[in-house]
Symmetry: D3
Subunit: 127 residues, 6 copies
């Protein structure tokens, strides 16, 4: 597939998962400087990897939450917590992942991730 | 529940997931020095967190794989790759998680995790 | 010991080290979603590990400061800087640990940890 | 060379790269508590390593940007983004480094670094 | 551009930088399981990012060395140390980057990276 | 103090803590390429920071063990485990630090550190 088509396809899925307004605001805030990175996100992340079959979007989201909590990336974690709810994950499923984080990446990683999750659940009316 | 009962319950689940011989060998290699850490693993990790309902063991294993790849812990990743297969995950599901690792934690993390996965799949006759 | 007794014992030590009001505020902010994580903190961290003999609370606090600075966890670092002062550590002892951080984890880790320490020392009237 | 002379020499280069006012403000904010760390920064980092011949200041700055993005240190990254501009790097060169970050340390590291770069470019009138 | 063309273009550059035999051996060792990851490496990393103008391959290699040392990825560091030599970097330039690593990511990161560099320099007859 | 005197003073303390033969072997293995890094280690780490009063060498060693376990640096951890024993720390004190690692940096970090500690204790006849 042409990489521009891949980017268009990816941007569509990204907006479904993260919300169109949030995605457009983020792309605008990055301006011309950020265009190549946005291409990576749209084409390679969402157009290719997220679009692959073989694992449901919900389970991918739970794996992403585990990964972002382990990698100490709370801003990105918030994005994927919202994505997880859009992809049908329940607050309980999210919490079970964060309890594995506590034991396997340590209490501070789980504390930070709990704060992010509680914020996102409030924002989305699921607290 | 008494913490010793919790440890017994956890050790049982741990042996089911990782294999009784591997667990016993690891406990023996840690000797008396390692007893408190083994208690943490048996009682708090397996007896409490892994035993909680709310998320299947297979999805927990996929989250663990994401987490260990992100945290640069290849020895522990191997343990949980074996656990994932025991918990019913397919090689394809494991690979989809590792492709998210490539995009969100970088190619070197995915390379290391692929090497671990290929080794474990060979050992378990699933390559 | 029963895990609920362990949690009660741990919560008592935690309040002594971190301050009762701060602990209660944190538990409340995490709500029902955070209950299993609070159990991990109270029972397993404070009730078990922090309560073990074999190393003074002050030296444990200095090790925690080293660990949180290395792990890039400034929010948790602040908690344990306060705990270190409660456990009798002096500002000079804390600084010596942070200078090891500078050489062995790099200047950015030490800068971040110095900022946290100076804030906590001011809050506690020890600057 | 005497370590105090090394510190004087380093402080001069540091002020050229980061701006005299910013350096003085930072030193003042760290007070007496921060003096040994400031000595490490002035004498060992700027007086010794940054002053060594063998690689231009501009290329050193690009390597620093790569390193701080990889190490998840956005505050220090901002300092070295400013230094890179002072050392003659262009926004395009900085961006090429951040695109390598995206592929080799993951999209979240590149997102965070892009946000820092866009802020610094605006502050310096280069956006 | 079509993503398969991008992968072909990237594989060509990758072989120039890392050596054709080493690349083929690595691709073979990953088998069918590794095909999607190899596509990411060939098309997105080498075909897109490494192929962009705006920064010389040599400076990109020095940034990669900084990044892999900071990220604690010695296997990938070795690959990019070889690439740096192919891209015209001198041992002295590589060392200057590793000395920045010592101050900004800590002595252990620099020790590990020095060991890797000395090995690669010996292998390539440049020690 | 002149930096060469600082390096001589530091090398003396380093040999006392790590063993003269081990230090000489390491310096030799790094050759001319490694001289500036060895100067950093001798002068800045051992000559300056480790030589400062204000915290005993034993407590500094325990903080170093915490830091190296958190930072995922097992090779450097082994060096400082040996140093801790030379500085009078007991196996029990070392273990208490590693149990804090389990709770605050996660079980995999503690597993890796336990393996290193058990090896070093055997080598030093203290298992």
């Amino acid at each position: 597939m042409d990489t521009n088509e891949l980017a268009d396809k990816g941007l569509k899925l990204r907006k479904e998962m993260v919300g169109a307004a949030a995605v457009e605001q983020r792309i605008a805030s990055m301006g011309e400087f950020g265009e190549p990175l946005q291409h990576i996100i749209n084409a390679y992340a969402y157009g290719d990897i997220w679009s692959r079959p073989g694992l449901s979007l919900g389970v991918k989201s739970l794996a992403m939450i585990a990964m972002m909590a382990a990698a100490n990336r709370p801003a990105e974690l918030r994005v994927h917590l919202k994505g997880a709810l859009k992809n049908g994950c329940t607050p309980e499923e999210i919490r079970e992942v964060l309890l594995l984080v506590a034991l396997y990446c340590g209490i501070p990683a789980a504390n930070e991730a709990h704060r992010a999750a509680i914020e996102v659940l409030k924002d989305e009316g699921k607290a």
